[in-house]
């Protein structure tokens, strides 16, 4: 199982019945593949649909029905079309139960940076700032390090996405929860030791006695 699949499978466990969930493009969107059949949720694509469905059969694509990454999708029965004002009204207004986003850095305060690398990559924040500021629960799904450099750092050096403590970090090596006291290591990845997590993490980790191995169903 590769790193991204471990992460997606673990994040899927955070989703429960009846939630409205927004998955960012890339790795976060893989989470939908690993939802148990008996979990009933609605996915929001912030570009305009509640009730995002799977890729359509070949030849059945509708150019007016895509996800936020521009890929062809379907809409599940009971889906609703929404314009951008309603879409972000739901996000900012506390109606979105969970968002799963990628990250460039998360720091000891639980602050996320994920929208630009000054002088190098300026994609823009798109909907990320509203999602982090507004969603009831924010999960950052990312590989633990970027080319050997830790992405979990004492303080973000990249521009912040929001001055809000995100709720959970899920990597292939660890599940980490930002708290008032700092970053608490909750779980380690399959076959990973606490020491390995520590050495791949630039921020201090609080390790309590009950660190378990990540369930990856």
């Amino acid at each position: 199982m590769n790193a991204k699949e471990i992460i997606a499978r673990r994040v899927a466990l955070e989703i429960s019945d009846g939630m409205l969930v927004n998955l960012g493009i890339g790795l976060p969107s893989m989470v939908a593949n690993y939802l148990p059949d008996d979990v009933d949720v609605f996915f929001q694509a912030e570009n305009g649909v509640i009730g995002l469905g799977a890729r359509p059969p070949e030849g059945m694509e509708d150019p007016d029905l895509t996800d936020a990454g521009g890929g062809f999708v379907t809409a599940v029965p009971g889906a609703a079309s929404i314009d951008s004002a309603m879409s972000f009204g739901l996000i900012r207004g506390g109606h979105l139960d969970m968002t799963v986003l990628g990250g460039l850095q998360v720091d000891a305060r639980g602050y996320l940076a994920n929208w630009m690398v000054p002088g190098k990559m300026v994609p823009g924040m798109g909907g990320a700032m509203d999602l982090v500021a507004g969603a009831n629960r924010v999960i950052v799904a990312m590989v633990h390090s970027a080319k050997g450099a830790p992405k979990i750092v004492p303080e973000c050096t990249l521009p912040l996405t929001a001055a809000r403590r995100i709720d959970l970090i899920v990597t292939e090596m660890a599940v980490i929860e930002p708290t008032d006291a700092g970053l608490v290591l909750r779980e380690v990845g399959p076959g990973v030791t606490v020491e390995q997590v520590r050495s791949a993490t630039a921020a201090d980790l609080i390790v309590e006695s009950d660190v378990s191995e990540m369930p990856v169903p």
Partner: protein, 225 residues
């Protein structure tokens, strides 16, 4: 991406059970304009139950015997935040006697304040009311040389809304002038109770016809008799 799940069905709630949920003194956003597009069965159930002390937020208090007018007559309204009470002499009498507090808000400001509460904005900046008694006690903000009132967001403990049609997922459609405050209030109630005329199977309301996504609706009242 594969999506195996979808959102849960609502179960239809009996109107008396819905009334039981609402505690004394709750803040109720109630849809309707002169009792058009008002959740009439829900109001009847609240009157039958007799628990009150409510703050109601609505366009108006309708007329005695109609819509919110029934709540006023039954003495269940402690405070009304509304734009108009001109066609309900009972509201005027209770306001003058001090039995009911009435906060008059310009209609466009009222709907934007509820929207702001529902979509997570910090307030509304409007020129409506500048230089009138509506301005009293409010912060004004100068923006590019023009003066605006800073009007606060409004949210409710419950939104009681009426709809033309719902599907089992709670998606709602409204008809003609029965839209009014309903779609906006659906955003701003901590708990949203919708009273549809008709309930249809999932798929019977196409995505483009949905005005209120079912994810906003907590309870659907069962079909009336």
């Amino acid at each position: 991406m594969t999506c195996t799940g979808d959102a849960p069905m609502k179960t239809a709630t009996k109107v008396a059970e819905a009334a039981e949920m609402i505690p004394e003194g709750a803040v109720l956003l109630i849809g309707g304009f002169m009792a058009v597009g008002t959740p009439e069965r829900m109001i009847d159930a609240l009157v039958a139950r007799g628990v009150g002390g409510f703050t109601i937020v609505a366009n108006d208090t309708a007329m005695p015997g109609h819509g919110i007018g029934k709540l006023v007559s039954a003495g269940l309204v402690a405070k009304a935040v509304v734009s108009h009470i001109g066609l309900n002499p009972e509201t005027q009498q209770k306001m003058i006697s001090g039995e009911m507090e009435v906060d008059l808000v310009p209609q466009g400001t009222l709907v934007e304040r509820i929207r702001a509460g529902g979509v997570g904005l910090g307030g509304v900046l409007t020129a409506t009311g500048v230089g009138t008694p509506v301005e009293e006690g409010k912060q004004t903000v100068e923006i590019d040389g023009k003066t605006y009132l800073l009007e606060k967001p409004i949210r409710g403990d419950y939104a009681l809304i009426a709809a033309r049609q719902a599907d089992y997922k709670g998606n709602l459609e409204y008809a003609l002038t029965a839209h009014n405050f309903n779609p906006i209030m659906a955003l701003a109630g901590a708990t949203v109770i919708a009273e549809p005329h008709v309930i249809v199977p999932v798929g019977a309301i196409p995505p483009d016809a949905v005005k209120t996504p079912g994810v906003l609706v907590d309870h659907l009242l069962e079909r009336g008799q």
